[in-house]
Point group: C2
Chain length 152, copies 2
DNA sequence: CAGAATTGTTAGACATGACTAACAATCGTA
DNA sequence: TACGATTGTTAGTCATGTCTAACAATTCTG
């Protein structure tokens, strides 16, 4: 179900009208699956949907969707940037894992990605620097300015 | 189903007799679920099982189980050691993710764990060293001996 | 070694989430 | 505006994998 919320949020960006068919294509399922998902999500007050009519996230649905998208993006970046996986595979894996990973691991993973993105050289002593970053929420001083940009 | 193979492999280590009840407890399901899983796995020739009798992996089942266990352990180590997650949560997450992650990401993740375990200080320039490790399958020379052991 | 306790199995129900086929509404265009 | 094409819905089926209740086999123990 989270996938449906995610798809609706993405398709609805910028006030665009969301169609059943688009959702079905984005998720690789048939239209009846979408209809029945919308029914369930309506019952849970996460989506507004009327027969043959508009499809829209409720505020609660939007909140859930943003959270899923956040998890998705952090995971995709981890696979793509930290592990060097191709974008397509990174997306697929993110899409699977976003639904099963624990909040704690998710949070740590997100921070890890932030770290390696902010500190591309890693510097000397990677794990302890990572610890530092985890504890203090910011990079050790000798890290942030010595990036990839060869600022000589 | 992979969880069942994994459980049977672990419970059967050292020629120990495997019981339905043990499996059910290890996986947190009721016994009938185990019985029906065993039936399916027997049909797939992954498990030998006769009514009220012994439970044993076939060679093919054992192979699958080892692969699952390998994935599980690499993931658990990643969460525990790289991300600093507690053991229990690391195990739970590993158990979920091991079934959905792509082979490519799994392989990279395993290598990543090997890398950070073998090269705990990370050295200067973590990502490029990681690239090097990926490409050559061995650590850059200036890495391996400068570990945690403070060998002064 | 017989009955009680435990372990294992069967049968059948239920939840999820997908599908196909058939029908209904809406849209686009002549 | 009406009719054909497209989109959406309903009804019903199927596959997974779980559960409970009832029954069967095995094991323990007096």
């Amino acid at each position: 179900m989270e996938d449906y919320l995610e798809a609706i949020a993405k398709l609805g960006e910028g006030r665009r009208v969301v169609k059943v068919k688009q959702i079905s294509q984005m998720l690789g399922v048939k239209m009846p699956s979408v209809t029945s998902a919308l029914k369930k999500l309506s019952e849970q007050e996460l989506v507004e949907h009327e027969r043959y009519g508009h499809i829209k996230l409720t505020p609660e649905g939007d909140e859930v969707a943003r959270d899923v998208i956040y998890r998705h993006e952090a995971l995709a970046r981890f696979f793509a940037q930290a592990l060097g996986i191709n974008q397509a595979t990174a997306e697929e894996d993110a899409c699977k894992i976003e639904h099963v990973i624990s909040p704690l691991s998710m949070e740590r993973l997100a921070k890890f990605v932030e770290f390696i993105e902010a500190c591309p050289l890693g510097g000397a002593n990677f794990p302890s620097r990572y610890e530092y970053y985890l504890e203090h929420g910011e990079l050790p001083q000798d890290c942030s300015t010595r990036g990839l940009k060869k600022r000589k």
